[in-house]
Symmetry: C2
Subunit: 109 residues, 2 copies
């Protein structure tokens, strides 16, 4: 792979990077990042409390308030954990991403 220096790409240029339409590439990134954190301990299909804390702190620090406050993130996790099993499956996690995207887009709540 060519060594890259820091610069910014327009969305059109990002299409180059894996020849998928850009929305599918973005979906692929969200799935692979979820799996990267979910695979650290226990089931690789769900996020444990610890995995969720790490993911929010390093991946969603601009979009989630108090991303480095463990108590706040525990509370956020319980609001997402529909079946109260102490883990977040992908679709439970996806609710959070939807709320963040909706807010980021400035759409009505």
């Amino acid at each position: 792979m060519l060594p890259l220096t820091a610069f910014s790409l327009s969305e059109k240029q990002v299409h180059l990077f894996d020849f998928h339409p850009i929305m599918e590439s973005a979906i692929g990134v969200l799935v692979s990042q979820f799996k990267a954190y979910a695979g650290k301990d226990g089931s690789s299909d769900t996020l444990s409390r610890d995995e969720f804390q790490k993911l929010v702190k390093s991946e969603l620090s601009n979009f989630v308030k108090n991303a480095s406050d463990p108590a706040a993130i525990d509370q956020l996790m319980s609001s997402l954990d529909m079946d109260n099993d102490g883990e977040l499956c992908f679709l439970e996690f996806w609710q959070l991403i939807g709320r963040l995207a909706n807010k980021h887009g400035g759409f009505s709540q």
Copy 2:
């Protein structure tokens, strides 16, 4: 911006492109692409039937079956249009992206 030739970037390198954690960048892409299609006619916060057809055909052609079949996409749109107003708001659209991401990730349905 530097002219780019076709090559592939690792996810780490994609971080370079706008200095956000990559999950936030991917969320930003999904929001901006939704807005790009939603802004073509009528309200710029919702997808009309025509805008949804165009988006699915050009952006989700690998992830959505029969992406070029208008009747199939109309059916898909009605399954998402919770309030039956003939338009898809962002959160209604987000359900589709969640289903596609869940399937793409191979998670249990």
